[in-house]
Amino acid sequence: MPEFVLTVARFGFLILLWIFVFTVVGVIRKDLFAGVRTKSIVATPRGVGGVMAPGRPAAKAKRGKTARQLVVTAGQLAGTRITLGEAPITIGRAEDSTLVITDDFASARHARLVPREGQWFVEDLGSTNGTYLDRGKVSGPTPVPLGVPIRIGRTSLELRP
């Protein structure tokens, strides 16, 4: 075999290895940095709902969009995100819950998130320590706006678009 072909093959192989590595990185690029999403990316683009006043809470700006993700923002499961489908989500210490919380202040079947016509409702399932939407205690099915924290024990959850 000519020397030239061998040299090309040798370096070509190394380049191909790195092409593989970068293709892999390309595939996972999206959720490689999923944890560092800033507020400005989530906010409504200008011109969608009129001119936004500065300092307006992000939660208000996002109303009318459908929630696609449930994100755990505080507690032991912080960073977990659930892609929302059509099915309700149960939260509690029971093993068969959608979100299994190991928290001394959570009940076995603590709360439930139910979708109805594009809007998610939170409902307390008779927990001992209660479920809180922002600061108010949840006593019946309550609609959950985007970006408003649902608090269960030490865990805090939010709906995100």
Partner: protein, 484 residues
């Protein structure tokens, strides 16, 4: 499980990456043959094609039983596994040429055996994926698994040396021509047990503590299990003469503890205990010898590999390490080309020192690509841990991913002289069935957990009929002020 429209499974990306990985493996085989035999034989593509068929099988299984599993894990591991087989085949050809024989067939030699082990490993991984549909099921058998893990670690220490000892380390069960390394399988069992134990205990471990020097230190009685595992791993170190395995188990426990409690003090305590223990073992080895002598020898080989005394020693000389360093040095930045080096100068190049052999031929440039592959596999494991929705899954995925990373660090640190050399296999590359099977099982578990973490929520026991009445209370709903 019904698919939710609009969510990507990533299966097609996986297939594409897998194809790319297999093309690279085939090209590697072609370059090896052209360098060694001066021609490319008509069958150079057969091992790569067989591997492609095997991985395609696994891909199909994943498509059905874990459709949302991470798309990157299988291709990255497949590349490493395939290049490992390619390198072993390269050794076979080299050996045959040295004896003026014809190169062995596709299924002969080290490469052929590794191909067979890959088949078995992939079958095991598929079976695990099919049987365990929900990783939470594993937590039911946590104590059984913990006991099994400890027994697996201890077996070689208890068995007579004639059965368990190879090259001075007692890690094996040898039955006829087969030798199994039970410790490899213990990793997965122990991770599951630690995860279960810590999910139960973490409140106590993280809440009851004393503050000292700005760090939260746990109470003495909560330290019990850590100290037990520490002692256990030191016993392994002394009786099985294996620092790597001891470091692996201890690091694994400390890190799962850290993940569970989110306290850096565990890491500090762990590192202090380990390095303290190792240093004391080193001093004891220097002073009294006995069971610690082997450890002292290894440390002095690591510190002074080019010393005449260490190099020409009868048993446990630094010859291997020196050859490995020289090989890596010869390879330089771009290597001598696949098939162009002389890996057989390094003893055990097919198992522990495979990275030294490959490094000579693909150079730093190629080795770092392989290392990034390992890094990406570990990253995907940690990502699955972040995404999964229960603590047990989080700890298992985090622990398994970390173990894989630590094992690569321990062996790579060993062959490059960063840490004392210990007998660890390089995951997916080294020749050897136990290591390959155990690591593929580990990947299967990560696939299962990443499937759980990436799949959108559908159905399940949560699907009870909701209240029929529309909600009356609109507590907490935002009122929007419309400005003119």
């Amino acid at each position: 499980m019904p698919r939710v429209s609009g969510t990507k499974t990533g299966r097609n990306a996986e297939l594409g990456l897998l194809a790319l990985a297999m093309i690279i493996v085939a090209i590697y085989a072609a370059i090896v043959e052209s360098n060694q035999l001066d021609k490319v034989t008509s069958t150079f593509w057969v091992p790569a094609a067989l591997l492609s068929a095997l991985f395609l099988g696994l891909h199909t299984v994943v498509r059905f039983v874990a459709p949302y599993a991470d798309p990157v894990l299988i291709p990255a591991v497949a590349l490493l596994n395939g290049l490992g087989i390619g390198f072993l085949r390269r050794l076979d050809i080299g050996d045959a040429l040295g004896k003026k024989l014809d190169p062995p067939g596709i299924f002969g030699g080290l490469g052929g055996r590794q191909l067979a082990w890959t088949l078995i490993s992939l079958i095991l991984a598929s079976v695990l994926l099919v049987i365990i549909r929900d990783h939470k099921v594993v937590s039911r058998y946590a104590y059984t698994l913990g006991l099994a893990g400890i027994v697996l670690v201890m077996i070689p220490a208890i068995l007579p040396a004639s059965i368990s000892e190879i090259n001075g380390a007692r890690l094996w069960i040898r039955v006829g021509p087969l030798s199994l390394q039970p410790g490899e399988f213990a990793k997965i069992a122990l991770v599951s047990f630690f995860a279960y134990y810590l999910v139960r205990k973490r409140e106590v471990l993280s809440l009851a503590s004393r503050r000292f020097l700005g760090l939260d230190f746990p109470r003495g009685r909560d330290l019990g299990p850590v100290v037990t595992v520490w002692l256990l791993s030191l016993l392994v170190l002394v009786f099985e003469k294996d620092l790597g395995t001891a470091l692996l188990y201890f690091g694994l426990f400390v890190v799962t503890l850290y993940v569970a409690t989110e306290r850096a003090s565990w890491l500090i305590i762990g590192l202090l205990l380990f390095f303290g223990g190792v240093y004391v073992a080193y001093l004891l080895g220097a002073a009294i010898g006995g069971p610690f002598a082997n450890f002292y020898d290894r440390a002095s080989v690591w510190l002074h590999p080019f010393d005449q005394e260490n190099y020409f020693r009868e048993f446990g000389s630094s010859y291997q390490l020196v050859q490995s360093l020289l090989g890596l040095g010869t390879g330089g930045l771009f290597g001598s080309g696949p098939g162009n080096g002389s890996p057989r100068f390094v003893p055990e190049v097919q198992t522990d020192f495979i990275f030294a052999g490959m490094g000579e031929e693909i150079g730093l440039f190629g080795l770092s690509a392989l290392l990034v592959c390992y890094l990406l596999i570990v990253e995907r494991g940690l990502r699955a841990a972040l995404g999964v929705r229960d603590s047990f899954g989080k700890l298992v995925a985090g622990g398994l991913a970390f173990t894989l990373g630590l094992q690569v660090f321990v062996i790579l640190g060993g062959i490059t002289g960063l840490i004392p050399l210990t007998g660890q296999t390089t995951p997916f590359l080294s020749a050897g069935g136990s290591s390959l099977m155990a690591n593929w099982l580990l990947i299967a578990m990560l696939l299962r957990i990443s499937d759980a973490s990436r799949s959108p929520v559908t159905g399940g026991p949560a699907n009870q009929p909701g209240p029929k009445q529309p909600p009356v209370q609109l507590h907490g709903a935002m009122t929007e002020v419309i400005k003119p």
